[in-house]
């Protein structure tokens, strides 16, 4: 396989049934969700939005209809949530649930309908950011996992890991000011905002590392050039769209598709029950297996 062919005509119509992490949304017929849900996670300044824009161009040029979703974009509560954030008056749990409402609204009204129509959904952040923010603020991990058991398991999650020092540089270069929440100013009250930012981002990254084991997403080295990152993302997404690979693939044993989805679901349930020993390791697809010649030409 020298080339990753992404034209829809060549797409392998492998029926990979979607799954929720838990009971999910009532009355959703999972078999109808033919599209792909691809998540890009990362801090502000990790290059998330740039990468998503490039991915969208790439996909649409190849004829894949694409929909973008992200945090705080629901019709239901985005404005109210924005106001609440500005005032910083909500408690941690309340804020978590407010975000969960925003997420659920988009899941039901944008993500699921788009997947039903066979679209590719590019999610600029997903539940993982929301969970890590809540956990570093002291919310019980099991509780927040239960809240988000309504979420669909994405076809792929890419986490752009950028060292806090590079993040701080990029944010300052772009805005000349650090965001209050991304600096964890509600938690770290030191007068040194620069230090708070670094400390907070470290904590979030630590949480992502823990979650990576549980949820099996891929960490992408975001310290590199946008082009290098984009090439890696395209290679991996190309493999997924050709039905060759996916986030949910287990690296050990050649387990078949339904088998592995089941194991993922089981490991997630085990997690929710606080069982940390008896779950199978869930890992992302190794990058080396698929090479592509489809380079970024921009």
């Amino acid at each position: 396989m020298a080339r990753t062919d992404l034209s829809p005509a060549h797409r392998i119509t492998m029926l990979k049934t979607k799954r929720f992490y838990g009971k999910g949304i009532p009355k959703v017929v999972l078999d109808e969700l033919k599209g792909q849900l691809i998540v890009v996670e990362g801090a502000d300044g990790s290059g998330r939005s740039t990468q998503i824009d490039l991915l969208r161009n790439w996909l649409e040029r190849r004829g894949y209809p694409t929909v973008n979703v992200g945090l705080k974009r629901s019709m239901l509560v985005s404005r109210e949530l924005e106001q609440a954030m500005r005032g910083n008056i909500l408690g941690t749990r309340t804020l978590s649930l407010f975000y969960a409402t925003d997420f659920a609204d988009q899941l039901e009204n944008r993500i699921i309908p788009a997947l039903r129509s066979g679209f590719i959904v590019l999610a600029d952040r997903y539940i993982y950011t929301l969970m890590s923010r809540a956990i570093v603020r002291g919310v019980e991990p099991a509780w927040i996992r239960d809240v988000y058991s309504i979420a669909l398991i994405p076809d792929a999650v890419f986490y752009l890991a950028v060292s806090p020092r590079i993040l701080v540089e990029r944010n300052l270069r772009k805005h000349a000011v650090l965001d209050y929440w991304e600096s964890g100013m509600d938690m770290h009250r030191s007068p040194n905002m620069y230090g708070n930012f670094i400390e907070y981002q470290r904590q979030i990254q630590k949480e992502f590392k823990v979650m990576q084991e549980h949820y099996g997403f891929e960490t992408i080295n975001g310290n590199r050039s946008p082009r290098a990152i984009q090439n890696e993302l395209r290679a991996k997404i190309g493999a997924i769209l050709n039905g060759k690979s996916g986030l949910t693939e287990l690296t050990d044993e050649g387990s078949n598709d339904s088998n592995r989805t089941e194991r993922i679901a089981r490991s997630v349930t085990a997690l929710a029950n606080g069982d940390k020993r008896d779950q199978p390791a869930v890992r992302g697809q190794s990058a080396a297996r698929h090479r592509t010649t489809d380079r970024v030409s921009e």
Binding site: G22, K23, I25, P26, K27, M75, L76, V77, E80, L81, A84, I89, L90, G91, T92, R93, T94, S96, L97, F98, A100, T101, A104, D105, E108, N109, R137, G138, V139, E140, W143, D146, V147, S149, I150
Partner: protein, 235 residues
């Protein structure tokens, strides 16, 4: 927050009232509150769906019919969490008697009827302390329906469960929806040790019973204000 606070370490007492619309529970909890505050006790009253911050979003969602069972559930849990984090829990820690007109059981009943998973709903609210006393105002479905339908000309869209598509007639829909909620409450009576109050009895008779139970279960003198009583507490 990592551990839900141990109940023994909380000085206050939590009293919840539950029941169908039209069961008379709001009247009863109002009378309870008047009695306690006029007699000089530390009392705080909180109502379902009343957090100022979240209410705006809820109202918009309801008015424009944007809510699904899941978002309906989550937005109400957000409202509850706001009141819980900022008022109910701090006041309980400060040794208040907190009276709640509807508590987590309302969500358990309504969200289950709307099709949300029962376990998920319970986990969503797992951070909330269980009440020391939950009064359940039990009234025959017929009586509750006639109290609401005779008294008011219009039932609201979500109150009538119109989002569930039971019927195009709001009154018929309301009857069906309330009937289903009624069965949910009945399931919970034993699960959560509700104290059943016969809400078909005259209001003053009910109130006498409620006060008796409260006095038996709660060492009231512990909850008295000390020092000078402020003007708003003078009868």
């Amino acid at each position: 927050m990592t551990e839900v606070q141990n109940k023994e370490s909380i000085a206050g007492k939590l009293v919840a009232v539950e029941g169908l619309d039209g069961s008379g529970k709001s009247t009863q909890v109002y009378l309870l509150k008047r009695w306690l505050e006029l007699d000089g006790y530390k009392v705080f009253f909180t109502e379902w769906n009343s957090s100022a911050l979240v209410r705006k979003a809820t109202r918009k969602g309801k008015k424009r019919q944007l809510l699904t069972p899941t978002t309906f559930s989550l937005i109400h849990s957000t409202d509850f969490a706001d009141r819980y984090e900022r008022q109910i829990l701090p006041l309980l820690n400060a040794g208040y008697i907190v009276l709640a007109d509807r508590y987590i059981f309302t969500a358990f009943a309504r969200d289950a009827v709307r099709g949300c998973d029962r376990t998920w709903i319970r986990k969503l609210y797992s951070f909330a302390l269980k009440p020391d006393i939950t009064f359940y105002f039990d009234v025959p479905l017929k009586t509750a329906l006639s109290r609401i339908l005779d008294g008011r000309t219009r039932v609201k869209y979500h109150e009538a469960g119109m989002d569930m598509g039971y019927s195009n007639d709001p009154y018929e829909s309301f009857r069906i929806f309330q009937g289903k909620i009624y069965s949910e409450y009945r399931r919970m009576v034993h699960e959560y040790d509700f104290i059943r109050i016969d809400a078909a009895e005259p209001p003053d008779v009910q109130q006498t019973k409620v006060r008796e139970i409260l006095e038996n279960r709660i060492d009231l003198p512990r909850y008295r204000w000390h020092g000078p009583i402020y003007p708003r507490h003078i009868a």
